[in-house]
Symmetry: D2
Subunit: 346 residues, 4 copies
């Protein structure tokens, strides 16, 4: 039984870490960090935990926390983890950071896209990008995990096999992504109000969204060259779920079976990645509440492009679930321990 | 490890039994019955189960099924279970019927409200009404369970303590209930289309809804006299959840503490019933996906009435979850085995 | 052509006044008041008005505004209109106040339920309660209109005929109301976020909601005696709409035709009130975007109660539409001018 | 005052034609055709029209109808209009067909994508594609209008100026479209049930959707060469609205002002097309209930692509509204008569 602390436990991702860890047989939560709700009962903020969690919200003292726990999850705004982390902390416990602070290896690129100064560049090199299906071995030995963003997780896993196998042209990739509203967080802002989001869809952050360089980095590692993409996220009136629809030109004539084989090569033994049957389109409802990633593709022989699709629950595989999956790898637990929730539908 | 069969596995309640039993350590599903989808892969109908269920839909031959399994769940339209059940079946396996066939002891009342002839009245007396918190001991020894309706479950548990303790006048009870749309089932009917339900609320079955006599029976048992209520269900644009708002006149001046004590008397050791903190109103999101029942109340000193509120997930505590809870009691498993899902929010 | 000014034009009710007045042939909007967005283009805040409104938000200087316009709408928080209004303003232009400031004749009752001191009690007596179907003649000559609350409008119109005709016992009235989320306003608060409201329903303000005394006053006027009710509002995951389900004991045996006749007596010549056909339940979608009120009822011979139901669009008949209807009466326009929008469905 | 008949008046598009024509000062509806609901009161099917429409549903006898009316709208499944239309009908009245029957000039292409035989190829040449902003003059003199599809309307208007001006490469166009659920029609099918659509998003018809050739034809006319695109529609959990996000490679370096000028060149005098301010993304809520098309674009200097975005209400500009706009042009009415509805928000 290991001990875990969560900094940022009252955001939607933090709350989801709580839900998952409560069902994990090898972990005990010792610290519900929340700057906004210090000293309030956690279950008063998230009443779904009434009688399941009996603890008060604590501050975000990462140094003190490191003395008490084996692993710290930081589900906090960009910059906070970098401003708190120290060598001493990392020497005492493992850190899984759900923010973007350690995802991008080039600190200048990070600072440009995020518009803030990086406070702990010395740990960027060491941090392992926690996309478990791709970096599994490195994750096992890591002290500091950069837990991937929701869009990058879904995008990369949808595209990775074809890019790795050289079946698509890296310069032609366009990613049109759609996200449920929990991705916008729990901040009290007018654009996130029910009546502002409901019964509407819009694009946002067009050509400027911060997940762009993260996706480009990961795709670049896959194909061994620099990649530049278009990435357009959209806000969808639903709580959870990300759907990625990605387009790329094929590098040669391929059959359904050849492309399917590429996906199977990388995913057939992956518990969480499900390559769907022919012509079945991923939909977010089929992964809701679970750590699954549903992917599929369609070849368009007319345009010689392939359409790649992927669906995840943004709060699970796109955040808290993948963080727990990383923790499982780091501590030698079964990779899917605590993550066997079956998608709930409807 | 016991074996279970489900007749009606492709309805929303049947599908939810599958979800719950897949996470139950002592049960194996042997039969996915579905008259509409015979020979089709179950996971093609409910793609959330892709790679988790590898079985085809079977017919609804209850006699054949009884030879293969220890327990049969019938999640079928009214009348079907009654038309299939026999003494031989009951001698071979336990039956948990999610329809209304065996919920009402007075067969004439059943036939009047449901408008169909009862085909197996000989089993009505034997059948145990599976409201676990109230009939636990009888359930343990039952062969045939009448699994309660969704509205009756939420209504009865919300009102029971005050009625049992004589704090409210049985002749003044008014139940105004609100349900998510999954309660309407998966039948392809115009009124259940997305665009017919979304962005609207309406009452239906006003003064005529079939759950009325079931609720009246249960409340009558609680107070030892005949009870006649008004029950008005409403259709709400959401997938899951039932909220009950019930009104009754107090029989005497009472304090918050006295009423709270009445609830605690019956529920303080119940795992699934959560009496919320003072002034916290139950909301369906806090029980979604779980078998919990959140209840609370408010005394109105001006009108000398009490407002009793309860929230459940209609597919879990209101159907499949309670069915599994009944099964656990019948087979001596931990009552909450397979039912520890934490409400998912948002 | 008269001139209108709106104080509070960037709230949901203010925005709806703009939508309605833009389609009104006899009114020109001269002033888009908004304390929060002064000097910003109104159409930047509400982009549905792009190219339709070319004006900047102004401050809330009611005295200056009175010199420029014929009518002022105050769609502002409780207390603001009372703090700004003067005899001089009323001598120059008409005022339609959408807040509660002048709805309740007993200033002590107002101050108790609203928890604020009333700053202009001298105008309470003069103010006319703008429920057009009931107070039409007084409205025509009013200088100051207290525009009714959304719940009181729907509740009163649903119950009025039966109470006025003595068919129901005033002491038995219970009102269970359900509202879309726009009723909560456009304030940036966590409980109004999309992910907090979506896929859930809850009661709020149980036994304490501020619309209670307003409804009680109106019902009291109808039956000529003091009335005390239970009123329970609920928050529904939809943008617009209020549904009222009201219960009361019948004072005698009545037929469907007798009750129908009571509704027809008061409403058969009313353009905006539609008494539906037998057994058709009002639903909010059928009035969405319009000033209609759909009402109907069901007699329960078992319990000798009647269930009265009403549906409105909370932003139209429950706020802006009724305000425009009041303006039409005050200025001698056709009562439905600018209010002929046909409900949009789906 | 002209007379209109609607064949298919009980579908969502037909119902919307009724809503719009009821507010049109120069048109009277004489015929509510509906094969499914013959002899039933129209207002019993669509209760939003209670007391506004007093007429029964009629059959779909187009020949008889032609004797009674000046214009016929066919809001029917593919193939029906082609099977009913005759020279005699066209000699008596104008026909606006909302189906795809006369949209595609190449009958072989039509038959291939739609999988049915065309029953009236002799009228294809004559039919005018009713995209009013582009084919206005031809529409004025037409007898038979092929009313554009919802996706083609939004896609074409979003892309047209840049393609016409040679700013984008026709071979690089990718259209990722998102639609509300009313686009799927009112048929009672399981995939359109509330609980199947709500809280989910999915692509459908990937690389095979029937609107593809229609869009390609229109884009081809714009640039004077054959165009082949990728078009991927998605189903979004909302009632109304289409959002198009289109991608194309720029043919040269351009500034924001140059691209803006291209849009303004074609749209600055168009009442219904609104080119939004810089960096404002179209969202469907801002056009809901109206005939507006909101368009905008974003240049990505990194990838040298432009992202073009457009939003419409699929039932208005995407169907009924455009049909009425066509009717206005054909009969010499003001083009926006009956179409001045202001978008309703929220």
């Amino acid at each position: 039984m290991i001990k875990a602390g969560i900094i940022g436990a009252t955001g939607y991702a933090g709350n989801e870490i709580v839900r998952l860890l409560l069902g994990h047989k090898d972990v005990e939560i010792k610290w519900f960090g929340s700057r906004s709700y210090i000293d309030q009962q956690y279950a008063d903020i998230y009443q779904n935990f009434f009688r399941l969690v009996d603890a008060k919200c604590m501050d975000d003292n990462m140094a003190a926390l490191a003395d008490e726990v084996d692993v710290i999850f930081t589900a906090t705004p960009q910059g906070l983890c970098a401003s708190l982390i120290t060598e001493e902390i990392l020497s005492k416990c493992k850190v899984i950071d759900l923010s973007a602070d350690f995802r991008i290896k080039d600190v200048k690129k990070y600072e440009k896209w995020y518009g803030i100064e990086h406070k702990a560049p010395q740990f960027i090199e060491e941090a392992v990008y926690g996309l478990c299906e791709i970096n599994r071995e490195d994750i096992k030995n890591a002290r500091l995990i950069a837990n991937p963003g929701c869009y990058p997780t879904c995008s990369t896993l949808s595209i990775y096999p074809l890019l790795k196998e050289g079946l698509i042209d890296p310069n032609t990739i366009i990613i049109d992504a759609k996200s449920g509203t929990s991705g916008a967080g729990r901040g009290a802002k007018v654009p996130n109000l029910y009546c502002e989001v409901n019964e509407s869809i819009k694009a946002y952050g067009v050509a400027t969204h911060r997940h762009t360089p993260e996706i480009e980095d990961q795709l670049g590692y896959a194909c061994g060259q620099e990649v530049m993409i278009n990435f357009t996220p959209h806000l969808v009136p639903m709580n959870r779920g990300i759907l990625v629809t990605a387009y790329a030109s094929l590098t040669k004539d391929v059959t359904y079976e050849e492309v399917k084989a590429a996906y199977d090569k990388y995913y057939k033994d992956e518990f969480f990645v499900r390559v769907l049957n022919k012509d079945v389109c991923p939909q977010t409802r089929n992964v809701e509440g679970s750590n699954f990633v549903d992917v599929n593709f369609k070849i368009d022989p007319r345009t010689k492009r392939v359409i790649m699709m992927g669906a995840i629950d943004n709060l699970v595989k796109g955040a808290a679930g993948q963080a727990v999956q990383n923790m499982n790898l780091m501590f030698g637990f079964d990779e899917n321990e605590g993550l066997k929730q079956i998608p709930m539908c409807p």
